[in-house]
Amino acid sequence: MRAYTPKDDVQAKAYYTDRFYVSPQVPKQKPESDEVFNADLEAIKAKFEVTDAYIQVEQLVIYINANDIYGVLELMRDELEYTQLSEMSAIDWLAKGNKFEIFYQMLSMNKRKRIRVKYFIENGQAVDSVEKLFRSADWSEREMFDMFGIEANGHPFMKRILMPYDWQGFPLLKTYPLQGDEFAAWYEVDKIYGKEARDIIGPELRDTAKVDRYDSERFARLGHEVPKGTKITGNEPKNEQNYQEDDGVFMIKKFDKKDSVVIDDPQR
């Protein structure tokens, strides 16, 4: 049977995968294998429901319910000495189950331990803001909103942070186009010159490496220069400009094309 690929995922895909390739797993250990983690987990379990817990690459990962997050982090901060929220963001699982996974990376400096708290939310559901507990969540939650469109309830300033305020679309979704979409192509033209100038200016060139040899407006014709605005037919003779001062520059030998050797064969 052919493997199922989600249709609304436009990201880069491996062009070849062996039919019989089975991905190995990063090993997981039981929380009981570490005393400190086990004690922390028991303390959390006593008050909140923990759906899954394991240790992976020296860090404890726990899955909780979405509406417990404020309580869990408050307990971790006040009683379990996890005083810093290093990082939080989301993972897009929309193509698989129409949901997001949110993770909070917690650090305890006294115990020298890190715990990752995670939960799932449905598409369109908001998360509870933990900005009251950790000020760092102020910017993290804004970034998450900016990148995924997940809002945080109770956040004081739920605005975009990295993208412009009036941007449309959420760049880190797997459905977001890689090359810039229709909105992105006209964003700056509309903003600076106005919609009516669209015909004159044209959409923004997103491929910065693109060279149009029939373009006489830009610096794309080195060695084939023509006066600005000339209509290009494609049969212009080679017009080599000399870009050095006639008087010469102190200490710099003047380049003379006739005296130099051009090596056509790089493999010589």
């Binding site: 491996a14 990063v26 992976q56």
Partner: protein, 413 residues
């Protein structure tokens, strides 16, 4: 075609300057020489005093996390250079270490020593750059010239190693690509022997300088709780009374084998941060002396391997690729398709010159990371300005931004 000026309407168009409460909004940056890149601050002022600060970032946003999701792991390495471009090897290293932890690679000792050398040279470069730019912002032109001179020596050493001065890409997943050049150690020794005198020169110029003290002491004080709550790390946290250095507390590479101190202070002001940067330069020099000895011991013991041996993930040495068919095939697959780490996730934090640089990688077994989140310390060191600036005066803004040591390649990613 001319720009229509009134189309460029600001977002705060409803705010007027002549309100009854005499409040003024000052727009600081994004093109301001002391905004350290592309920081825009909207400052609400009562006379000269700031009542509200609103940092606006994103002017250098290149979508690196999105780029990472569409690149194979090795392909992404040069992109990490563009995060904290003042110390780019430390970004390379953070990413390489995260992938190595995910895959479970053991890096050869000689490569580890070289990596530590690069990391500490990068730390010195970053701190010298910090000192130079901050001193310049405050008006100490001499220190700027001195510190840039010393940084230039280090850049030359790095250039000799990897060919680049700023964007090094000097570290690979699984090791380092090259052994250090012959002149590396001798040049480094010359630099290190001179460094204590250089640092003393800076301190002689600054430590008792009346202007410097007025701009630094009791300005920008961050209490411990605020630093923890805002996710401050590195010198920002250590200046606020938390002695936390990841190299010491969660040692990676060979940091548990070298001796160094972690300078810290409980003052929390600009001057405390300045002192910590100076002391950290001395500690870095101490580590570098030890890594030179470690390197020479590696040479004596005949440890020549520079890359981890793991045919599934890492290409074989060039000699094998050129002589053995199977190594060539592996290399071809790894270059064209990329390595496929196991399914799982990892968060690895390293102590970059600015603070805790963390890479979270979620792998679904494909050649592209499913999700890659970069925890850049400067992001929160910029965020804290919201709470830190109110109460200060306009000239303090420049010195506070200076001592937070933010780099916008890292904030905006």
């Amino acid at each position: 075609m001319a720009q229509i000026k009134n189309r460029l309407t600001p977002f705060f168009e409803n705010i007027t300057f002549d309100r009854e409460d005499n409040e003024m909004i000052l727009n600081f940056g994004p093109q301001h020489p002391s905004a350290h890149g592309q920081l825009r601050l909207m400052l609400h002022l009562q006379q000269e005093q700031i009542t509200k600060a609103h940092p606006d970032v994103g002017y250098l946003h290149r979508g690196m996390e999105k780029m990472a999701e569409n690149m194979i792991y090795n392909e992404f390495m040069p992109t990490t250079d563009r995060m904290d471009y003042i110390a780019s090897s430390s970004n390379n290293y953070g990413f390489a270490l995260a992938v190595e932890k995910l895959v479970g690679l053991d890096v050869p000792r000689r490569a580890q020593v070289i990596r530590m050398m690069l990391l500490e040279i990068n730390r010195l470069m970053s701190h010298l750059f910090w000192l130079a730019t901050t001193a310049l912002d405050i008006g100490a032109m001499t220190v700027f010239l001195f510190a840039f001179r010393e940084r230039e020596y280090l850049m030359d050493i790095i250039e000799g190693y990897c060919g680049a001065r700023l964007t090094h890409a000097a570290i690979r997943i699984g090791g380092v690509p090259l052994d250090i050049q012959d002149s590396f150690i001798s040049q480094l020794r010359i630099f290190l022997d001179k460094l204590p005198q250089n640092i003393k020169d800076y301190e002689d110029l600054l430590d008792t300088n009346r202007i410097w003290l007025m701009r630094m002491e009791e300005v920008g004080t961050i209490p411990t709780e605020m630093a923890l709550s805002w996710g401050c790390t590195g010198p920002m946290l250590r200046a606020s009374g938390v002695k936390w250095d990841i190299r010491k507390e969660e040692p990676y590479e060979l940091y548990d084998e070298v001796e160094f101190d972690v300078p810290w202070s409980d003052k929390g002001d600009n001057f405390a941060r300045y002192r910590i940067y100076m002391e950290e330069m001395r500690e870095s020099a101490k580590i570098l002396y030890q890594t030179i000895d470690m390197y020479q011991k590696c040479v004596k013991d005949g440890q020549t391997e520079l890359m981890a041996h793991s045919p599934k993930y890492i290409s074989a040495p060039k000699l094998d690729i050129m002589t053995q068919n199977y190594s060539l095939m592996q290399h071809f697959v790894l270059v064209t398709q990329g390595m496929r780490p196991p399914v799982g996730e990892v968060y690895v934090a390293t102590e970059s010159p600015k603070g805790e640089l963390g890479f979270y990688i979620n792998s679904q077994g494909g050649p592209y990371p499913y999700r890659l989140k970069m925890r850049a310390p400067s992001f929160w060191h910029t965020g804290i300005l919201t709470d830190l600036l109110p109460g200060h005066y306009i000239p303090d803004v420049v010195s506070i931004i200076g001592t937070t040591n933010i780099v916008f390649g890292e904030v905006d990613r």
